[in-house]
Amino acid sequence: MLSQDALKRIDREIAKYPPEHKQSAVMASLAIAQEETGWLSNDTMEFVASYLGMPAIAVFEVATFYNMYDLAPVGKYKITVCTNLPCALSGGYDAAEYVQHKLGIGFNETTPDGKYTLKEGECMGACGDAPVLLVNNTRMCSWMTPEQIDKLLAELK
C-alpha cells in the first residue's frame, strides 16, 4: 500500500511516543500517506488504521477534522491562498483573484488537465508576509505579487 520509505518515516514518527500510544502518530502517518498517494482514500485510511492498530473510524475522524487532509483527489499542485483579515488588508483577496484569473478556476476547483487545485485557506501564521500561498501543504510562498505568482506557476509544471 505504502512504499518502504513511507513506512520507515511512519516508524520514525511512532518512535516519538510511548509504545502504548502509537495512535499519536496518526496525524503524521496520514500526512506521509497523503504525500505519497496524493489524497486519502478509504483504503489508505484503513491501511494506516491497521498499521497503527487503531479503529478505521478513529482515523477517519482525524482525517475529516483537520483541514489539510484531502479526502478527494486534488490536482498535482494544490495551491491554498490565505484570505483571512490580516492577509486581506495586504492583498490576500487580490492575490486570490489573480490566481483564479490565471488558472481559470474558482476556489475548490481543479483545472481540467488535473494540474492545479485552488483552495481558500485560514490563517497560516505568516500574516507579515501577506499575500501568502501554500503549495501542496509544505511550501510557503511569501509576498506573492502578480510577478511572483507568474513565476511560481511557470515553475509548477
Binding site: Y17, H21, L89, R139, P146
Partner: protein, 447 residues
C-alpha cells in the same frame, strides 16, 4: 518596499543578534552564549524551587494569549508523582495576525529547546513535545534538525551534560485546525484524536497528556526562560514594567509600511511601535486596531494611540494584549467586511462540540454577511449582540468567547458604519478606496 530607517527591536532578548543564514544552528547559538543557563543550573545543581521562584519574580506572563503567570503555572505541577509527567510547547500559532513563534523557531530554535529543558528540570519532567502549526512545514523540518543537533551536542537525551538530568524532546506537527491552539484541544491532538477541547477542571497540571500531569506553555514563553535564569528575575522585570516583565514580541500586520515581528520592552507606547513599522501605509489615518490577535476586541484608532503595549494598559483601554498580534486598519477599511471575514473564520474553525458555538458562529456569520451584502435588517445589530452574549461563557473552551468579542466590539465602536450599511445597502467606504488600501503588493491584478 519602502526603506525604513527604524530598528526592528528595542533591547531584544529573544531575537537578538540573529543575522545570517546560520543563526539558528547550534554552533551559532552557543557562540551567542546559548545553553549557558542550562549548563549553569546543572553545574550548580540549582534547586527546582529556586528556578520557579525566579520565574515568579520575573513576572513573566504566558505569551500565547492568556497572560497567565508562568512561575505560578509551573508551581501547579505535582512534585512527588510516581509516573510520567509531560512538558508541551504550544507552537500551533493560528490566531489571525500572529506570526512571532514562526520567527522564533526559524531563527532561534535552540533558545526554545533550552527553555524547555530548564522547565523540564524545574518540574521534574522527562519527556516533552513541541506542537508546531501545520502550515509552517519548513519550520517543523528545521526544528527537527535543531533537535538532532541538541541531542548530538548532549543538551537533550539521557544524562544531559553529564548530570543526572534526562529529558527527551520531540516535534509534533498539526495539520490545519485553529482549535488545537487551545491547550486541551492540543493535547487531544497529540493523542491522535480530533482536537476537541476538554472540560476544565481537571486542569492539565493534574490530568494532561495521556492523563498525566502536564505543563503547556507558548513558544515565546519558553524562549524567555534562559535570559531570566542568566540575568535574574528582578532584571527581567526591570526591562518591562510592574506586573508586566520583560520584552514582548509583537506581530504587526495590515496597513503599515513594514509589517513584521518586533521585540520591544513591555510598556512601550503603541505610537513608538507604529513608528518602528514605518508608520501607516500611504500616510493614511489609523482607523482601528486589534491589539492582541483577531479574538480580542477592536479599538478605535484614537484610543489605541494613547495605549502602551502591555497587558494592563491594553486591558484598561477595553481590549486584551492576547498573543501580541497587532492588526492595523486604516481609513480604507470597511469594518463590516472586516468583521465578516473574521466571523467566517470562527464559523469555519468551531470544532462543533458545543451547541452555542457550533450554531452561534454560523448565525453570526450569516447576519454579518447579509449586512455586508445589502440585505441587513434594522434589528440585526441587536441580534448580533444578543447571539454573541449567548455564546460567550457558555462553551467548553474560549473559542466561543473569541468569536463573540470581535462582533460585540466592532458593533460597539463602529455602529454608525453598520447602520449605514443597513440603511443604504452599501458601504460607507467606496469599494475602489478599499481596494486601493489593500493593494500594496498586487498593483496590477487583472480583475
Amino acid at each position: 518596499m519602502l526603506k525604513i530607517d527604524q530598528p526592528m527591536h528595542i533591547k531584544p532578548q529573544i531575537l537578538a543578534n540573529l543575522e545570517g543564514e546560520k543563526s539558528w544552528r547550534l554552533k551559532d547559538y552557543v557562540a551567542r552564549g546559548g545553553y549557558a543557563a542550562l549548563r549553569k543550573i546543572l553545574r550548580e545543581k540549582t534547586p527546582p524551587e529556586k528556578i520557579i521562584a525566579e520565574l515568579k519574580e520575573s513576572a513573566l506572563r504566558g505569551r500565547g494569549g492568556a497572560g497567565f503567570p508562568t512561575g505560578l503555572k509551573w508551581s501547579f505541577m505535582p512534585k512527588q508523582y510516581a509516573g510520567e509527567k509531560y512538558l508541551v510547547c504550544n507552537s500551533d500559532e493560528g490566531e489571525p495576525g500572529t506570526f512571532k513563534d514562526r520567527d522564533i523557531l526559524r531563527y532561534n530554535p535552540h533558545m526554545v529547546i533550552e527553555g524547555m529543558a530548564i522547565a523540564a528540570y524545574a518540574m521534574g519532567t522527562a519527556r516533552g513535545y513541541n506542537y508546531i502549526h501545520g502550515e509552517v512545514w519548513d519550520v517543523y523540518l528545521r526544528f527537527e534538525e535543531a533537535l538532532d543537533e541538541a541531542r548530538a551536542g548532549g543538551f537533550l537525551g539521557q544524562k544531559i551534560l553529564g548530570s543526572d538530568f534526562s529529558f527527551e524532546l520531540f516535534a509534533h506537527h498539526g495539520y490545519g485546525a485553529y482549535i488545537c491552539g487551545e491547550e486541551t484541544g492540543l493535547l487531544e491532538s497529540i493523542e491522535g484524536k480530533k482536537g476537541q477541547p476538554r472540560y476544565k477542571p481537571p486542569f492539565p497540571a493534574s490530568f494532561g497528556l495521556y492523563g498525566k500531569p502536564t505543563t503547556i506553555n507558548n513558544t515565546e514563553t519558553f524562549a524567555a526562560v534562559p535570559w531570566i535564569i542568566m540575568n535574574g528575575g528582578a532584571k527581567y522585570l526591570e526591562v518591562g514594567k510592574p506586573n508586566n516583565g520583560g520584552t514582548k514580541i509583537f506581530s504587526v500586520s495590515g496597513h503599515v509600511n513594514r509589517p513584521g515581528v518586533y521585540e520591544i520592552p513591555m510598556g512601550t507606547p503603541f505610537a513608538r511601535l507604529l513608528e518602528m513599522c514605518g508608520g501607516m501605509r500611504g500616510g493614511r489615518k489609523l482607523k482601528a486596531c486589534i491589539p492582541g490577535g483577531s479574538s480580542m476586541p477592536v479599538l478605535p484608532g484614537d484610543v489605541m494611540m494613547q495605549c502602551d503595549m502591555d497587558y494592563d494598559s491594553i486591558a484598561k483601554a477595553g481590549s486584551m494584549l492576547g498573543s501580541g498580534a497587532v492588526i492595523i486598519m486604516d481609513e480604507t477599511t470597511c469594518m463590516v467586511k472586516a468583521l465578516q471575514r473574521l466571523s467566517y473564520f470562527y464559523f469555519e474553525e468551531s470544532c462543533g462540540q458545543c451547541t452555542p458555538c457550533r450554531e452561534g458562529t454560523g448565525w453570526l456569520y450569516r447576519v454579518v454577511h447579509r449586512i455586508e451584502h445589502g440585505e441587513g435588517r434594522p434589528e440585526d445589530l441587536d441580534l448580533l449582540t444578543s447571539v454573541s452574549d449567548n455564546i460567550a461563557g457558555r462553551t467548553i473552551c474560549a473559542l466561543g468567547d473569541a468569536a463573540a468579542l470581535p462582533v460585540k466590539s466592532f458593533v460597539k465602536h463602529f455602529r454608525p458604519e453598520f447602520e449605514y450599511h443597513i440603511e443604504n445597502k452599501k458601504c460607507l467606504v467606496p469599494v475602489d478606496v478599499q481596494r486601493a488600501g489593500s493593494r500594496i503588493y498586487v498593483e496590477h491584478a487583472a480583475c
